[in-house]
Amino acid sequence: MLSIKNLHASVEDKTILKGLDLEIKPGEVHAIMGPNGAGKSTMGYVVSGREGYEVEEGAVTLNGVDLLELEAEERARAGLFLAFQYPVEIPGVSNLEFMKAAVDAQREADGEEPVSSKDFLKLAREACKQVHLPVDFLKRGVNEGFSGGEKKRNEIMQMLLLKPKVCILDESDSGLDIDALQVVAEGVNSQRSPDRSFIVVTHYQRLLDHIKPDFVHVLSDGKIVKSGDASLAQELEDQGYAWLKEQRAVGAAQEQSA
């Protein structure tokens, strides 16, 4: 479904991704873990098409469509969704107006008419309830004055409404208390289906107790250095990432001696 091949990317002339490979099949949940600065958020930005992120080499396709050729909005309409680590506040644009514009853009891409305001309000209210946000959050400016947890739940609400094919959750657990974490996890689990895939980017095992991944990958210095099943997350939780440094030191020494 989503295929990332040998992806090299830089921001402000600094290369962050250095040969990232990832194959995601329909219905799979992949967790990506790794230390700070490994390139986890960069991967989400590059795949979703953020300005300022230069692809130097490699390919990203979604169901065979070359994403790197598309504008950010076209990637979203192709079925890609990034839940932001730091959702952007947009005062003056209501949450409802924003989400309706997004859903209508998606519908237009799928050859459908825009949803009526009345029907959309109903859908949005249901989604609001599902992520345990009061419905008056629909009237407020996009993420304006929301707490960290409310912003993360607002991201999940958008995911529920847009029904994407591939969701990248960028540290959707950071800054959440246990209740909010469960709301986020329940939102994700309710959307798991044989034709929808997830990439869960996280620092901690905690979220993966609630969203069971099929695969766990360790991202370090811009590439996947280790992959395994769900038990790898527990291992990482116990050991930390110190072993990565040693491995890199050994690798560097080998390169030098060679």
């Binding site: 953020r50 504008e71 947009i90 005062p91 003056g92 514009a101 853009a105 400016g141 996009v142």
Partner: protein, 424 residues
């Protein structure tokens, strides 16, 4: 000197009523004034040449305006006390007989004799002398309202005062508003009419200790209309002012706002929005005087300027030597939609106290890139995202209006105006 100004001076001598002592002193000041040119600092970017050739037309005779005309001025869903001036003449005074307790409103010409000396004392006492059209209004405004709120009274219905132009080419109206201690009131000033006309509207607000005033000035006239004047406030101890000015711009549209912090711990929140198109001009001059300690001013002015339109903003904050512990912020942000659109903005901060917190800024804003990416990442096209963010930039201040019924009335008008602007 402008033709019209000469006529004003001639006409002023024939205005004779109980306000004459004040009118005469303003007339004396006017006679000393030079007619503004491009070299006059206060009018540098706002040419008055349209007045050189403007034919003075006296206000229409005191006859009722057509009822459809009045009906069109209504705001749906708003439960307000409406006082409508058409061509400078108050249309129906019936509403004055059924006012809520604690509120008194008098038509200026009908002010009871017993009140005249008080109002004479207050007249032109808050509005600074320097405003040219303020002085002209002093001299010519024979129509207007005196509004008083008794101490402790909370008036739930907003008072809406409309100055509309129908047949006439000239109108001058005056508001003298006095809030007693611990009272609260909302006033909406609305200026309407797009045909060539000259309309001055001056309002003076005396806000006593602990009182709260919610204020709106909607200068929504467009095209050939010329509307000038100002809203001037004096704030007592621990009083609060929340004011929103909205301008559409026209041949000549100028609003002067003055806030005088006269009592400690007073708070003023001032928002202003302008949305200009074609050859329109909108000019906002605001002056905040912090004369005493512990007061707060927060002023946010935002505009979108398209085509060949021009915005002028001059925002002065003057913090006097004794005004320690002042908090004052002034911000003017502009979005320019074309290469020929113009903004002349000048924030002025003058500080003579040493223990204050002040900030000011004026920018030509750009669309926020992270906001743009966020919207695009949800499938919204770049063009649509730009429109949403640009309108949101203005709408943020509409959202902050305390009266949401007014906000819902205003928003579609702004949206329509914005939708018709060309991006060049």
């Amino acid at each position: 000197m402008s033709n019209w100004f000469g006529q004003v001076l001639d006409r002023a001598d024939s205005v004779n009523d109980w306000l004459s002592p004040k009118r005469q002193s303003s007339l004396a000041l006017l006679k000393e004034r030079q007619w503004p040119t491009r070299k006059t600092e206060d009018w540098k970017y706002t040419p008055l040449h349209a007045l050189d050739t403007f034919e003075s037309g006296l206000p229409a005779a005191n006859e009722a305006a057509p009822s459809e005309f009045i009906a069109d001025l209504a705001i749906a869903g708003l439960d307000s006390i409406d006082l409508i001036f058409v061509d400078g003449v108050l249309q129906s005074a019936a509403v004055l007989d059924e006012l809520p307790e604690g509120l008194s409103i008098y038509s200026l010409p009908d002010l009871p004799e017993g009140k005249q000396s008080d109002v004479l004392g207050d007249f032109a006492a808050i509005k600074p002398e320097r405003h040219l059209f303020g002085l002209i209004n002093d001299v010519l405004a024979t129509q207007g309202l005196v509004i008083e709120v008794a101490a402790g009274a909370t008036i739930l219905q907003p008072i809406r005062i409309v100055s509309a132009i129908n047949n006439s080419t000239e109108a001058h109206t005056r508001l003298q508003v006095k809030l007693g201690e611990s009272s609260s009131l909302a006033v909406i000033e609305q200026y309407v009419g797009n045909d060539a006309c000259f309309n001055t509207g001056v309002a003076e607000y005396d806000v006593a200790d602990n009182a709260q005033l919610e204020h709106y000035r909607f200068a929504l006239q467009t095209s050939a209309a010329m509307v000038v004047g100002g809203s001037h406030f004096k704030l007592g101890n621990r009083s609060r002012l929340n004011s929103t000015v909205v301008g559409f711009g026209s041949q000549l549209s100028r609003v002067d706002v003055d806030v005088h912090h006269a009592g400690e711990y007073a708070e003023a929140k001032l928002n202003a929005i302008y949305l200009l198109d074609n050859n329109e001009l909108f000019d906002l001059h605001s002056t905040i005087e912090h004369a005493v300690p512990h007061c707060i001013t927060e002023e946010n002015v935002r505009g979108i300027v398209a085509d060949k339109a021009r915005a002028v903003f001059n925002g002065r904050i003057h913090i006097h030597r004794d005004a320690q512990k002042t908090l004052a912020e002034l911000n003017n942000r502009n979005l320019l939609m074309s290469n020929e659109a113009e903004v002349n903005t000048k924030p002025e901060l003058e500080i003579y106290a040493d223990d204050v917190r002040c900030a000011h800024g004026a920018t030509v804003a750009e669309i926020d890139k992270s906001g743009l990416y966020y919207l695009q990442s949800r499938g919204i096209s770049r063009a649509q995202a730009q429109v949403m963010l640009s309108f949101g930039f203005i709408n943020e201040l509409v959202d902050q209006m305390p009266n949401q019924i007014l906000a819902e009335w205003l928003r579609p008008q702004l949206r329509e105006r914005f939708a018709n602007m060309d991006v060049k």
